[in-house]
């Protein structure tokens, strides 16, 4: 026994060890091999350059520039002076500590971004100093370089992907940039290209030793696609200028193609604000501005009552349904009595009026009566309402248009069912009479309004509005954007309505904003609106709205302008529309008086009203927005003041 003890123990231990080796090297070997690869194979991503964005004339709008990220590999930092590093990085000590903790949680062995997107100037002084902190280094990366200081909301921006995005699309890894809004988001896949990678084996310090498997598993990057968009950079810039100190939006569409020539939401900001090291601060300033809402794209997401421009649709439906003729005259007794003591008011003008003058004078009584006939043509009000609804929605109203930008709202065009479920009692045409003049239950987005105008300009059809024109110089070939969408109105019915819209410029509500040598057709709108002020619903100064297209016989541009609280249509919206039409068609401005007015007037006083505690008047006859101070006026005329106004 005593001779065998050590002998048997050695045997037992030896066999146990061999068993363990079989377990490690055969049974679970594959798992351990995977861990070994995680350990030792370093994947270095090779990012292709993001595609450029050009305007319709080939003018560069968005390019790229080199930026620098401060990176950390937590495992390699060792002990360091947090205070000193925070000073060097110009960062709060507690914020830096938080960042480092997040990085450690993500991975101790892999690099995390501590400060993203330093510019060349910010980077230079860091470069030398940072070497004293092992584990920290600077990584080059490609960032956007904006050639324009406007159009931020339509161009969109790129931002580091968050965990949600990584989980949802395994293309992305921590630290990748991706489009977050606008064109950058819509065409992210095209713009970004496909990143490639190179694999290296690395040692336990993370240093690359040699290429993994002789580079056989490496992947070459695919370059990003250059986009040509339908925007006209010059028109866009001019429009942004005109919109300074106003809130609202502009959409201009080329009716023959559905291409979006200009898309403005105001207030807007310089896209470069969302880059560099103040980028987080600026993004927060924009997102948190719940008063001016620079983050909301008003032309895509804002749902407004369309007001008088909607009357032309009712005229068209009236003709199509045969309930009136272009020649029929309707009486207006400073309004229209539609039952009992109820009356829809109207302003002073000659009476009775036929269609052309009715549109030109924007007579409420005229359209109330036409609308009533349309609804009452149905066997029930509900059926009449459904017919009306189908006509209206054929103009692209009441639903998402299907344009290629990532945000939108459907708006609202009520049908019979809408009122039946809303009212317990039986309802009749007068119940919904506000729809006749584009108030009431009707709601549209400005881009729908512009598209509706394009459909009128085309005499009965529209192309789905879109922003993409070419990819890598090749014109796009998407049937969605090259197929005509026909309205339910026959082409012949458009002429008398278009005559009326032309009359708006010749003798009607827009006669003071005529552009020499261009036959413009338009329609003003003055939209009642309400806001909650200190918890109480209160009527505000009317929105100024205008739609137009030109030239009358060969339309090159259809436009919708929406100015919040600009009062009547021709005070602000029509002026802007006229100038943009002139700019687009002539390439120069002759109505400098209109330009001067817009450049010298601010609506900020109007917007300030509801924020103050003082009681205030609305719809004041004289525009109080004139900027008298010479210095402020100069500042006001600079596009740069966009930034100052928004991010003070």
């Amino acid at each position: 026994m005593k001779k065998l003890l050590l002998f048997s123990i050695v045997t037992l231990v030896g066999l146990t060890f061999i068993g363990r080796m079989i377990y490690l090297q055969v049974v679970i070997s594959e798992e351990l091999k995977l861990e070994a690869e995680n350990n030792s194979v370093k994947t270095v991503y090779d990012y292709p350059e993001r595609g450029f964005i050009y305007d319709r004339n080939g003018e560069l709008m968005v390019a790229n520039q080199v930026a620098y990220d401060v990176m950390v590999i937590p495992k390699e930092t060792g002990d360091f002076d947090l205070n000193k590093l925070a000073g060097l990085l110009k960062m709060d000590e507690s914020r830096l500590e938080k960042k480092l903790k997040t990085a450690r949680i993500w991975s101790t062995k892999q690099a995390s971004v501590i400060i993203p997107q330093l510019t060349q100037e910010e980077y230079a002084p860091l470069q030398e100093q940072l070497r004293k902190f092992p584990g920290f280094y600077i990584q080059r990366r490609s960032l956007r370089k904006y050639q324009v200081d406007h159009s931020a909301s339509v161009l969109g921006y790129i931002r580091e992907v968050n965990q949600g995005k990584i989980n949802e699309d395994d293309y992305y890894v921590q630290g990748d940039l991706a489009g977050k809004s606008g064109i950058e988001l819509q065409y992210e896949k095209e713009l970004r290209g496909e990143k490639g990678y190179k694999k290296y084996t690395r040692d336990h310090y993370g240093r690359a030793i040699e290429s993994y498997k002789n580079g056989s598993s490496d992947l070459a990057p695919i370059a990003g696609t250059d986009l040509t968009v339908t925007l006209d950079k010059e028109l866009q810039e001019y429009a942004e200028k005109l919109m300074i100190n106003k809130r609202g939006g502009i959409v201009a569409i080329e009716p023959k193609t559905g291409e979006i020539l200009s898309l403005i939401t105001a207030p807007n900001y310089d896209p470069s604000l969302l880059m560099g090291r103040d980028r987080s601060k600026n993004i927060n300033a924009i997102l948190r501005d719940t008063v001016r809402l620079p983050d909301v794209n008003r032309v895509l997401q804002g749902q407004y009552a369309p007001g008088s421009p909607f009357k032309v649709i009712n005229a068209l439906i009236g003709l199509q349904e045969g309930v009136t003729t272009p020649q029929e005259r309707f009486r207006c007794n400073h309004g229209y009595d539609y039952g009992g003591r109820k009356k829809m008011a109207c302003h002073s003008h000659a009476s009775p009026l036929a269609m052309s003058k009715g549109i030109a004078e924007s007579c409420n009584a005229y359209f109330a009566q036409v609308y009533r006939r349309i609804i009452e043509k149905g066997e029930t009000s509900s059926q009449g309402m459904d017919t009306w609804h189908d006509h209206v929605t054929s103009f692209g109203l009441g639903n998402y248009l299907g344009y290629d930008l990532p945000v939108g709202q459907p708006g609202r065009i009520p049908d019979g069912e809408y009122y039946t479920s809303r009212y317990k009692y039986k309802w009749y045409a007068p119940t919904t009479i506000s729809n006749a003049i584009g108030q009431g239950e009707v709601a549209v987005t400005p881009i729908q309004l512009a598209n509706m105008t394009a459909a009128i300009a085309n005499r009965g059809y529209f192309y789905t509005p879109h922003i993409i024109k070419k990819m890598n110089g090749e014109p796009i070939d998407n049937p969605k954007y090259t197929t005509k969408n026909f309205t339910t109105i026959d082409a012949k019915h458009f002429e008398p309505v278009i005559e009326g819209m032309n009359e708006v410029y010749n003798s009607g509500t827009a006669k003071y904003v005529k552009i020499p040598e261009i036959e413009i057709c338009g329609k003003t709108g003055t939209v009642e609106n309400f806001a909650k002020v200190n918890g109480v619903r209160k009527q505000q100064t009317d929105h100024s709205v205008f739609i137009a297209f030109a030239p009358k016989d060969d339309p090159k541009i259809a436009i919708a302008v929406f100015i919040e609280n600009g009062y009547w249509g021709s005070r602000y919206a029509a002026k802007i529309a006229s100038l943009l039409i002139e700019k687009h068609i002539k390439g120069e401005i002759t109505r400098t008086d209109l330009e001067d007015y817009l450049m010298s007037h601010s609506l900020e006083y109007e917007y300030a009203k509801k924020l103050g505690k003082e009681p205030y008047n609305i719809n004041v006859a004289v525009d109080q927005g004139l900027i008298t101070d010479e210095k402020e006026r100069k500042l006001h005329q600079l596009v740069d003041s966009l930034n100052l106004k928004i991010l003070k």
């Binding site: 005593k2 001779k3 490690l24 351990l32 070994a36 350990n39 030793i209």
Partner: protein
């Protein structure tokens, strides 16, 4: 030396030794922290140094085998005293490396006396026990032997190098061969089992288990009353045993939780699976297992042995050299290495058993025990079965003192064995 007697050196043991040394050299070569390999004799690299140490060992072997065989027995006492002095001297002249004062600086090299204390102690134990009037059954003699073994361990523990001190428990096998009851080993195992159980299970359960087990043993032993060779079971002895067990469990658990340092506690916790910590203290073991697993069946060519090349396993050319073998030569290499160690120890036991001389036999068992314990603790640690204890793998881990110490340990025995026919008192 008897007339006409030629020494018969044990070829098997020498071959196994040579194989292990060169597998070790190759593993150190693959585990070297270099970006570009140079010649294996490049003295600036660890493998070049190990190559040099092997050369020194060859010289040492010649000297050991050339010395008159009786020298080792006659000078055992002196060698032991010198060795103990060298250990004690560390506290005055020692150099601190990695937090332990275990080395003397000699030029650009360092010398680790604890590696030499093993053969010195083995010689001393063999010398003392082989005296005619000495018996382990005599309490005084037992205490002296225990003292000879404990002295170097006690000198080494505070360096601190608890791993090297642990090796001295290997002498149990030599003592057992000379008649020490297995009870001592059983006591040790019970002590260890209670200690580990206290960490994993609630202490009240353990107390309950102790009481139940002791009660069962008592009841069983009462049935054997007719067996007159055994002492009569006395109830109070069982009660005392029970209390000792409980007191021991409580006190070790207290020591573990309140007196041991975190780093020691963590090592044990990780092996017991009480904590999972692959980034911290568990990093070594985890990385070591990854490297071994990455080797698979047949191992990987050097350029694909990413873990070893990348230096992921700390101490991969010293204590963790077995992991480099695992990755570079796979299951094939690791099994061969394990088998070589088994055969070496078997061979030494066989050689010890054929000694006519008690001194040589005790020394042989000492050698076998020491190799076994190193093999067991080191490989067990590298493959994740035992806590991290920093001791080298004999003949394979990088280090001159270690390689020389083990070489001397083995070749003194080969020398004694070669003269077994003529060598007696």
């Amino acid at each position: 030396m008897g007339i006409g007697d030629r020494p018969k050196y044990d070829i098997a043991a020498i071959l196994i030794y040579t194989a292990l040394v060169f597998i070790g050299l190759f593993s150190i070569y693959s585990a070297a922290p270099v970006l570009e390999y140079t010649s294996i004799t490049d003295i600036n690299q660890v493998y070049g140094k190990q190559f040099l140490f092997i050369g020194v060992c060859a010289l040492l072997i010649i000297i050991i085998l050339a010395i008159e065989v009786k020298f080792y027995e006659q000078f055992a006492g002196l060698i032991y005293v010198v060795s103990m002095l060298s250990l004690a001297g560390l506290y005055i002249f020692g150099k601190e490396v990695n937090g332990a004062v275990s080395w003397y600086p000699i030029g650009s090299f360092t010398f680790q006396p604890s590696e030499f204390a093993k053969f010195a102690t083995a010689l001393a134990v063999a010398k003392f026990l082989s005296q005619l009037n000495v018996s382990l059954k005599n309490v005084r003699d037992f205490m002296i032997v225990a003292g000879i073994i404990a002295l170097p361990a006690l000198l080494i523990v505070p360096q601190p190098d608890p791993g090297s001190a642990l090796i001295y428990t290997a002498f149990f096998f030599a003592l057992h061969r000379e008649g020490l009851s297995l009870w001592y080993l059983s006591l040790g195992i019970i002590a260890l089992a209670l200690f580990l159980a206290a960490l994993v299970i609630n202490i009240w359960w353990i107390i309950l288990i102790i009481v139940v087990v002791v009660a069962i043993i008592y009841l069983l032993s009462r049935k054997r009353k007719h067996n007159k060779r055994l002492p009569k079971p006395r109830i109070y002895l069982y009660v005392i045993a029970t209390f000792i067990c409980i007191a021991y469990t409580l006190s070790t658990s207290y020591i573990f939780n309140n007196i041991l340092e975190d780093r020691h506690r963590n090592r044990i916790d990780i092996v017991l699976g009480r904590v999972q910590d692959d980034a911290g203290i568990g990093y070594n073991i985890n990385q070591s297992m990854i490297a071994i697993g990455n080797g698979g069946w047949a191992g990987k060519p050097l350029e694909e042995a990413t873990q070893t090349r990348g230096g992921y396993v700390p101490e991969q050319h010293t204590d963790f050299v077995f992991s480099a073998i695992g990755e570079v030569s796979g299951l094939l290499g690791t099994s061969i290495t394990i088998l070589l160690f088994m055969f070496l120890i078997y061979r030494i036991i066989i050689m010890a058993e054929r000694q006519r001389n008690q001194f040589a036999r005790i020394y042989g068992y000492g050698v076998a025990g020491i190799f076994f314990l190193h093999f067991f603790v080191n490989v067990g640690m590298v493959i994740g079965l035992l806590p991290t204890v920093g001791i080298p793998l004999p003949f394979m881990s990088y280090g001159g003192s270690g390689l020389m110490g083990f070489t001397i340990l083995l070749f003194i025995f080969i020398k004694l064995d070669a003269h077994r026919m003529s060598y007696d008192h």
